[in-house]
């Protein structure tokens, strides 16, 4: 019975492969043979693929839930004592299943785009569908022939191994899906860009259509990265959240190009600038998403995140990556001449030039991360040397660039399009400049002497001031023309310009994150002590008293737990219980740190070895303001969702450069 269900899932995936191949042929044939009925069939095939992908995923989940160890993937990543929720999320706990989740999301995006844009983009749709179908085919071949989660294991073992204990955590339930939702989401701008290039259309319609999709993918990727950082912070027990590991870098690169894309498409919407550049960014962002997958799963780089190595799979992934990049970029090169902008950037300081610099900085950041990540590979291939590029390189090179991006965030959104006069600029920037000065002085009084942190603080102050003054200015303008009361005017201003104010909120969130990164990095304190029961030690403003070790047990683990009383001044702040957990099935030990979080800072405690006579080594960190990073992420989520909630404008006016309009939409002014 159980066996037949997994076979059913495999049959669904196989059928999906046939349908995706058919969809490529039909979609392209509908154009070359001018036969729209073919396109309709291709569209239906891709919508059916979403159903088939769902069936395939559910069949694997079913096998996990019912402990069907005759499925090799289940036997390797689960056992009967694993809690139900982790048995379900084990679907994406290892390589094979996570690829299936990738494919499910891909089929979801494909079906959603086909349903939502079928009537608005009829001429681009065949190319969009062909692109989706080709990417789906690529993944299905990988899933079915090289990384099958459906493989049987006979005779079936009575008990499975275990899910990697590090992955048995609520953070890991949502971190990978969010990340994949972001990675895969960039397939939408990619498909639209390919369609625009194939059609030789230089209109801005593809950027207008994909803006929301790009923002959604960006939000998901941001959330995935943030959740990963948060998970690493509380699970790995070293008091940090980002290690510049190759795989972390692989997620940062599409994030950086995605951020650049999100901003530069405004220039195309508004002024029909940067057409070729936007197409390049759309292709590069998706290619970098695939590169992440390639790096993690081919074993080409050594990383803590790496999956098991298999040369055939690596070769296939490389071929897939090559198809996407060479195909995409060749198309761009061939069609570049149709993408000449009829207008050019004018003025030395305008929204356009700010966007140009934004893109420039972000691309330099991508190049820097890219170089640092791949240098060890190049050194080994060409020089035969093993080197690692560690955090200091990235901190020294990438952080200053990101500080420049923050400073630009204060200028870009407030300067007008086309040309700003000097006096106008002075008026716009005088208060932000004063705020920057105030922030710098505050930093100096807190003992910060390094130039980059001071610049970062100045940038943060500047952004806050720029956003507040710009909002107040618009508010005054509105209430003086409409005569509304100020809070009514604010409500209607914000509600009618959700894109703009959503963008501002995202920028506020980014400054919170920047502030958290800055402060937690500068003022972190760490201490390792060996304590006997009853002994105490001091860290930051806290005093911790060690009350000995005890044993505790969970469903599939046993742990040794330290009991610590925390006091600050005369206040008792309760107890903290860091653990060392042992998962007998997989013979693995994990550290469970105890964290006491407030917006002012975290107290972070990890228990190490027990040294006899009740003594234990304890490592504690006082990390001020680190909570601002996670709080900033929530602000980013709120801002993005608010920007996404802007209703689609009614098709009325023609946008700036849409000469061959497919869909007529009006771009609405905004910061994103």
């Amino acid at each position: 019975m159980n066996g037949s269900i997994i076979e059913f899932g495999m049959a669904a995936a196989s059928l999906a492969l046939i349908l995706s191949c058919a969809a490529i042929v039909l979609a392209l044939a509908s154009v070359s043979m001018r036969h729209p009925a073919f396109a309709a069939v291709a569209g239906r095939a891709l919508v059916v693929n979403f159903v088939l992908a769902t069936v395939a995923c559910l069949s694997v989940v079913w096998a996990f839930v019912y402990n069907d160890f005759s499925v090799a993937y289940v036997a390797q990543n689960s056992n009967t004592r694993l809690p139900l929720i982790y048995r379900i999320t084990a679907l994406w706990g290892a390589h094979e299943g996570s690829l299936l989740l990738w494919f499910w999301m891909l089929s979801f995006y494909s079906a959603a785009v086909i349903c939502l844009h079928w009537t608005t983009h009829p001429r681009s749709m065949p190319y969009i569908m062909a692109t989706f179908a080709a990417v789906q085919t690529g993944f299905l071949v990988l899933i079915l022939f090289l990384s099958s989660p459906f493989t049987e294991l006979l005779p079936a073992p009575v008990e499975g191994r275990d899910l990697n204990p590090l992955l048995q955590d609520p953070g890991l339930i949502i971190h990978p899906p969010m990340l994949y939702l972001g990675y895969v989401g960039f397939v939408v701008p990619f498909a639209f860009a390919i369609a625009a290039l194939m059609r030789g259309s230089s209109s801005a319609e593809w950027v207008t259509a994909t803006r929301r999709w790009t923002l959604f993918a960006w939000l998901s990727l941001t959330s995935g990265i943030m959740l990963g950082g948060y998970w690493a912070y509380y699970e790995l027990g070293w008091g940090g959240y980002w290690a510049w590991d190759p795989v972390e870098n692989a997620s940062l690169m599409p994030w950086l190009t995605g951020t650049a894309l999100l901003h530069s498409i405004m220039a195309q919407e508004k002024r029909n600038l940067f057409q070729g550049w936007n197409a390049f960014l759309a292709i590069a962002t998706f290619a970098l998403s695939l590169l992440g997958t390639f790096l993690v799963r081919s074993g080409v780089l050594t990383s803590v995140h790496a999956f098991a190595v298999d040369p055939t799979r690596g070769l296939y992934l490389l071929a897939f990556l090559a198809t996407v990049t060479i195909g995409g970029f060749s198309l761009l090169v061939m069609r570049a001449d149709t993408l000449r902008s009829p207008v050019r950037v004018e003025g030395t300081l305008s929204r356009e030039t700010a966007l140009l610099f934004n893109n420039l900085f972000l691309i330099v950041a991508v190049a820097t991360v890219f170089f640092g990540t791949l240098y060890p590979l190049a050194a080994e291939v060409f020089l035969g040397e093993r080197v690692t590029v560690a955090a200091p390189y990235f901190n020294k090179t990438v952080l200053p660039i990101m500080v420049a991006v923050v400073i630009l965030m204060a200028i870009g959104p407030v300067v007008p399009w086309r040309k700003a006069t000097r006096s106008h600029l002075q008026k716009l920037l005088v208060i932000p400049a004063m705020a920057a000065l105030a922030a710098t002085i505050t930093g100096l009084t807190f003992g910060i002497r390094a130039i980059i942190p001071l610049l970062a603080l100045a940038g943060i102050g500047m952004v806050l001031a720029a956003i507040i003054t710009d909002t107040l200015r618009s508010l005054r303008a509105r209430s003086s023309t409409t005569g509304e009361s100020s809070h009514r005017a604010l409500a209607s201003l914000v509600m009618w310009n959700r894109r703009r104010y959503g963008g501002y909120v995202v920028h506020l969130g980014v400054t919170c994150v920047a502030f958290g990164i800055l402060a937690s990095g500068l003022f972190q304190e760490a201490k390792t002590v060996v304590l006997s029961p009853g002994e105490r030690f001091e860290i930051g403003d806290y005093i911790l008293t060690f009350n000995g070790m005890e044993s505790v047990a969970g469903p599939n683990w046993a742990a040794r737990q330290a009991n610590l009383e925390v006091t600050s001044g005369d206040d008792s702040l309760g107890s903290m219980q860091p653990q060392r957990r042992n998962y007998p099935r997989g013979e693995m030990t994990t550290t469970e740190s105890a964290i006491r979080s407030t917006l002012a800072g975290d107290l972070y405690v990890v228990v190490g070895e027990e040294l006899g006579q009740g003594r234990a080594s304890i490592r504690a960190y006082s990390i001020p303001l680190v909570g601002w990073i996670w709080a900033g992420w929530l602000v980013i989520v709120v801002g993005s969702l608010f920007a996404l909630s802007q209703p689609r404008p009614a098709a009325s006016r023609q946008s700036a450069g849409s000469r061959q309009v497919d869909a007529v939409t009006t771009p609405v002014g905004g910061v994103i």
């Binding site: 390639f294 990049t325 060479i326 291939v381 013979e587 700036a656």
Partner: protein, 189 residues
């Protein structure tokens, strides 16, 4: 909104970026292809080409000490393992087979070093997976591991008959690796 078409048709696209983009793309893909061909478990070591570090350790499940001096004169395989190491389980069968094949032949000696572990856990590990047909020494505090430059388990060192380390392998061993390394230390199978 007005449509602005400037007379100055300054092109955003210049010709030079086209070949550059394609060459860079192909170059990177080529780098990846070369990268795929390399062996991720190979690790250069300062120890390779030098004498094996001296050690004197207690022996697991037996009386007496294990001394590096007593092992000289024959090719030697030293395998660092621990009960807490998940990857050690996947190379266990390879080691059992290798031990049965070579230990009796007198051509080569094999020594396990149980690294940063407790004797009771190590014994439980061996009784559940099968005891090695060769002795293991106990490196409970990891000092000998430091002398060898061990940073992750399992690690295996291949020493020739003159006591010089010839290869270091990181990660689980498989049959193919074993044949390759044995040739390096002059053992014929």
């Amino acid at each position: 909104m007005t449509t602005v078409v400037s007379n100055t048709r300054k092109t955003f696209v210049h010709a030079w970026w086209k070949p550059l983009l394609l060459i860079a793309t192909v170059g990177l893909l080529g780098l990846f292809a070369l990268g795929l061909g390399r062996d991720p478990t190979f690790m250069p070591s300062a120890l390779v080409g030098r004498a094996v570090p001296d050690f004197e350790l207690a022996t697991l499940s037996a009386a007496g000490r294990t001394r590096s001096g007593d092992l000289a004169g024959n090719p030697l395989i030293i395998n660092f393992w621990a009960s807490w190491c998940g990857a050690c389980r996947s190379e266990h069968d390879t080691l059992l087979k290798l031990g049965r094949e070579l230990q009796g032949s007198g051509q080569v000696r094999i020594l396990g070093i149980n690294h940063r572990d407790t004797a009771s856990n190590a014994e439980r590990f061996l009784s559940s997976l099968g005891a090695f047909p060769y002795p293991s020494a106990i490196d409970a505090d990891g000092r000998t591991g430091v002398d060898f430059g061990v940073f992750g388990l399992p690690e295996t060192f291949f020493v020739d008959a003159t006591g010089i380390v010839r290869a270091r392998h990181i990660g689980p061993l498989n049959e193919r690796d074993v044949s390759r390394y044995l040739a390096v230390i002059g053992v014929e199978r």
